[in-house]
């Protein structure tokens, strides 16, 4: 935790007042889905008893056809939706039981990248990327320093003063990724981040996620683009009819194994 943000912002129960620090907490899974049910219509559940455990530092693809519930899964995780049954544990805390006031502190530990970038068009790159740090109330000097470092990391060094509206699609997605990682979250979620990009840019963006993962960040990458899954053998979770089918060695590895 370079900035020491996550610890202060979202305290696991072990660090709460009156409780002792538990050194084994670091070995626990970063994320656990335990029998999660979610339905928007009673006759058509999106998730039916979805269970999954994600270890600290993992890179995992979530795939499945459109409407399979990939986005719902992510929305449940950052508390934009509530589970109907089951539970989601993030850093040992049950997301569904967080009060409305605690949700912002949960989100400060999760970086999210969207297909449509969700950049504020009339803000500069620097302002867009610096938002998570501004929210934490860090001094302007620290924000600028940190944003500069992250922009270098995503290949946009020196572009901080350009308006987001003048950037290309690939550059916008890099800015969105920079914004997602600037506060060093415990988990990086990507919801179809390459959906609006051409195949080559998509591969570049995936490479960027892999670079970020190599620094120890846990990444959950939701995509329906099978070509990305074959680039490198990674754990793949296939969502089908509301359940998870876990393929630990990637789809290609599983196909070879079956052969």
């Amino acid at each position: 935790m370079v900035l020491g943000l996550s610890d202060s912002a979202f305290r696991p129960s072990a660090l709460r007042r009156g409780q002792r620090f538990d050194p084994t907490a670091a070995d626990r899974p970063v994320l656990v889905f335990d029998g999660v049910f979610k339905a928007y219509r009673p006759d058509c559940p999106v998730l039916r008893g979805f269970s999954l455990t994600i270890q600290r530092g993992e890179f995992m693809f979530v795939t499945g056809p459109s409407g399979a519930g990939k986005s719902t899964l992510l929305r449940l995780l950052y508390a934009a939706e509530q589970v109907d049954a089951g539970r989601i544990l993030f850093l040992g805390r049950e997301v569904g039981r967080l009060t409305q006031d605690s949700v912002p502190f949960l989100r400060r530990n999760i970086g999210i990248v969207f297909q449509d970038f969700k950049l504020i068009e009339n803000f500069t790159v620097l302002e867009n990327v610096g938002l998570p740090l501004q929210v934490l109330g860090l001094p302007e000097r620290v924000v600028n320093l940190r944003v500069g470092e992250v922009l270098e990391r995503v290949g946009l060094g020196g572009r901080g003063h350009e308006r987001a509206s003048v950037l290309s699609g690939g550059e916008k997605q890099r800015v969105a990724i920079a914004r997602a990682i600037v506060s060093e979250p415990a988990l990086l979620l990507a919801d179809e981040p390459t959906g609006n990009l051409d195949p080559q840019l998509a591969v570049d963006i995936l490479g960027l996620f892999e670079d970020i993962h190599s620094t120890g960040v846990t990444v959950m990458f939701a995509t329906h683009d099978r070509s990305l899954l074959d680039i490198r053998p990674r754990r793949v979770v296939v969502l089908d009819e509301g359940r998870a089918f876990d393929v630990p060695q990637g789809l290609e590895g599983a196909a070879l194994g079956a052969a």
Binding site: L119, L131, V135
Partner: protein, 289 residues
Amino acid sequence: MNAFDRAFRAMRSDLEVHLLSIFSVGVAFVCLVTAMLVVVNVQHVQNRWQHIGKLSVYLNANTAPERINDLDAALRATPGVSGVRFVPSEEARRELMSDHGDDTLAALPEQAFPASLEVDTQESLTFEAREQMAKQLQILPGVESVETYANWSSKLATVFSGGVTAAAVLALIVLGAVVSVVSSTIRMALQKRHVEVEVLKLVGATDSYVRGPFIVEGAAQGALGAVVALSLVGALYSFVRGTFEAHLTALLGVNISFLPWTLSAGLLVGGAALGAGAAYLSLRRLLVV
């Protein structure tokens, strides 16, 4: 960037909408400021009449000069009386004619202009003491009637209380107008900046952090609306005072004045609070991400 920086930036980027909103709030405030200005000046006139310290003792037509001299001497010896002047019937007619310049007054009979003793009392003399003095004078021989101008004061008190009621009603209308205008503007701003709000909430901003600039914008609209109203009414007041001051002073007996600074500051603070409240209420229902 704190809430003020973010609000200032948002207002600058959407200047036309905000200016329109400020002007609309200002127009609503103009009615209230005007009513308050009238009330304040009516109150000044009422105070002036209450402390004017004048009595007119009207005499019977056949009162002997010796009796008038006795009355004059008795009044001068009364505590609280600062001066007495005898105004004969002809002089009363002459004064009225010179004031109004109307020849028909000359045709009126002598009884229409009774002789009088104009009594000046000290300002420290209370309204009640003057009334008591009038009652005592009323029963003296040779005195027809005594005018204390109390009926003028009571008429002004009625006008004053009517003005206060009108101002209170206008304040309610202004409250409704400000809440409606500011809420609409904030809703529009929220619609326009929905991506910003969504992103802020996704990166972990608390509701109060997201609301901050909108509430500052609402407060600024309310306060600036009040400033616009005070400036418009102030300009009108300066014009009226510059053009009709002599006539108004002669008519009312006091110099007209603008709202005291405490009331102006109160309007400003009230406008800001009203705008902030309206923004807060509109966000409470809409800020769900």
